[in-house]
């Protein structure tokens, strides 16, 4: 599955970042070349995947649990051996190098802060092991704590900080090593929904400010769509689709991608499998449009929109309609329902 290689990298490059990298002259921040990971006999955890991540991209590895996304990230970090294939960072092969020589830095899901050190000393740790003098390393660490707006709590121990604050410290600790690529393992999954949205804006801001690539593992499609320049959808150890967010959402490569991203109906139409976005489907028969008949199974009011589920042959189809249209039609659960869509909105799945 080499979908990513067909991608024109120029297309996905973000606008020129403010702080340029010291190393230039490479096209991709990270490359995976036919990487496979096996833990033993049986199905591999990651099966022959290839991926190129252009300079300064926010890349999300998206997929259900067990799809191999975290293993891929850990191989990039050097915390997991690569069974076959090669990994390049800034055009240099680093497949078998130890973590510190890769130019990557990992932000762990559980933050992995050193519990006996203050926030400041946590951030300064990598400078300490390099023998930077105390005053100097603390000053630098303070700058990074300022970047993540945590300088006012620099003296606190990790267990005196909230989850969101610990995460900011972990981010500063990762960034102070000046990584070429920052690896984030489900960084937002331990936060409450409100904080998650604030923190993801923060991540995006910091990524743009530094201009380095972030590779972010998540199982949340909202998160991936909101953040990513490049979304890599994975399932069963392979890459299903790797493309910019809009392309993935508007033209999913296959039924899995369409279903996993949500907001799509996967329908058999004219003998082909197609996807139609739920917000382009309507309730009721419309002249000149394709239709599907079933029973209204569920109605969810979501404020600006109403989500209506139509069940046919044990399959659920979704219509997202705006609230005024819904109240004008006022359908009831259990009534027969017709979903219709324009033939031109059909996207043929591979």
């Amino acid at each position: 599955m080499n979908l990513a290689l067909k991608q024109d990298p120029a297309e996905i490059s973000p606008k020129a970042p403010k702080l340029q990298q010291a190393t230039m002259g490479h096209r991709f921040d990270a490359e995976l070349v036919a990487v496979t990971k096996r833990y033993g006999p049986g199905a591999p955890a990651v099966d022959d995947i290839s991926l190129r991540i252009p300079r300064g991209s926010y890349c999300c590895l998206l997929g259900p649990s067990g799809c191999g996304k975290s293993t891929t990230l850990r191989m990039l970090a050097g915390h997991e051996d690569v069974t076959e294939g090669a990994i390049l960072i800034h055009g240099t092969e680093i497949t078998n190098k130890p973590p510190v020589e890769r130019g990557t830095s990992m932000m762990f899901q559980d933050y992995a802060l050193f519990p006996h050190l203050s926030a400041l000393d946590n951030v300064a740790f990598s400078l300490k092991v390099r023998g930077v003098a105390k005053e100097e390393r603390r000053n630098q660490a303070r700058e990074y704590l300022e970047l993540v707006q945590m300088d006012h709590l620099a003296e606190r121990l990790p267990n005196q900080l909230s989850g969101g604050q610990q995460q900011r410290v972990a981010l500063a600790r990762s960034l102070i090593t000046r990584p070429k690529v920052l690896l984030l393992d489900e960084p937002l999954s331990a936060l409450d929904p409100f904080l998650r949205i604030r923190m993801r804006a923060e991540l995006k801001r910091i990524q743009k400010e530094l201009g380095i690539s972030f590779i972010h593992v998540t199982h949340s499609q909202d998160e991936a769509l909101a953040l990513a320049d490049l979304i890599v959808v994975m399932n069963d150890a392979v890459i299903m689709q790797a493309a910019p967010a809009r392309e993935v959402f508007e033209t999913p490569a296959n039924a899995f991608v369409a279903r996993f991203l949500g907001g799509h109906n996967v329908i058999r139409s004219e003998g082909r499998e197609v996807s139609v976005r739920a917000d382009q489907c309507r309730l009721g028969r419309m002249p000149g449009m394709r239709a599907l008949e079933g029973v209204i199974g569920m109605i969810e009011y979501q404020g600006t929109q109403v989500r209506i589920t139509i069940t046919k042959d044990d399959e659920d189809y979704t219509v997202l309609m705006d609230a005024p249209t819904y109240f004008a039609q006022s359908p009831e659960i259990g009534e027969p329902g017709v979903m219709s869509w324009e033939a031109s909105d059909e996207h043929v799945l591979g």
Binding site: P99, F125, S126, K128, V129, R173, T177
Partner: protein, 290 residues
Amino acid sequence: MRLANPIPPRIVSMIQVAPMALIFTTMVLLPLGLIFVVSFLDYDFARVFPELYLGSWEDVLTSQLTRDLYAKTFKFVAIVWAVTALLGFCIAYFLAFHVRTMTVRLMLLATVAIPFWTSGPIRAVSWVPLLGREGLVNQALMGLGITSEPLSWLMYSEFAVLIAYVHLLTLPMIVCMVNSMGKIPPSVIQAAQDAGASEWQIIRDIILPLIRPGIAIGTIFVVTAVMGDAFIVKQMSGGQVNTATMAIVTELNAFMYPPAAAKSVVMLVIVLALVGVLLRFADIRKELQR
């Protein structure tokens, strides 16, 4: 639904604590009080008189002999602690961070633990074929031409006592440290590696500070075991080495209860003080919680 509870919660707590309080008072506090009282009484070769006599305490606090005995005990404690801590740390570190599977880890821990399925006297006797004059070590040394005659200090000596202590007490040290190391999330170690820390830096800056409670508990094991032991000293030194605890046992055997009681009180105060200091080092309650 609320259950009507006619007994106030304070009383309920007291009833719940009562059995333990009863056992603790009758089996620990009262005997200790008795020992304390006896230490101030007069005695002859077979009896204790209910008359005030400060000679036992005078003896404990001023005689050079008792001071030498305590010095010997502390020397043993210090050496055994240093050796078991170093050995324990190395083995625990290997088990916790270099052995990858839980099965192998448990198997290796079991091999350390299995010798302790036998009783103390058997273990003490089984040192003889190894360390005795005709023992394996001496035969090997002579066979290799390293020594011309058997080393006499291998068995029935201070060295033998130390060997037996180290053998006995390395296991609790390992278990306490492995337990503490097991609580360090792997990601914390990986984060330190990411930061560029060498193995030695990770040990010094991350692992040692984080296993302090484990070291403290292991230390309490070692200190209390060495200070309270008379059996191993007697068996392994063949009665040639004397410690403070040995002196207490000797006096008890000679029915000299008041001086034995006085020495016991001193011993208890020292051990409690040491444990108190160690507890300040680490939050042991937190360590035992998880």
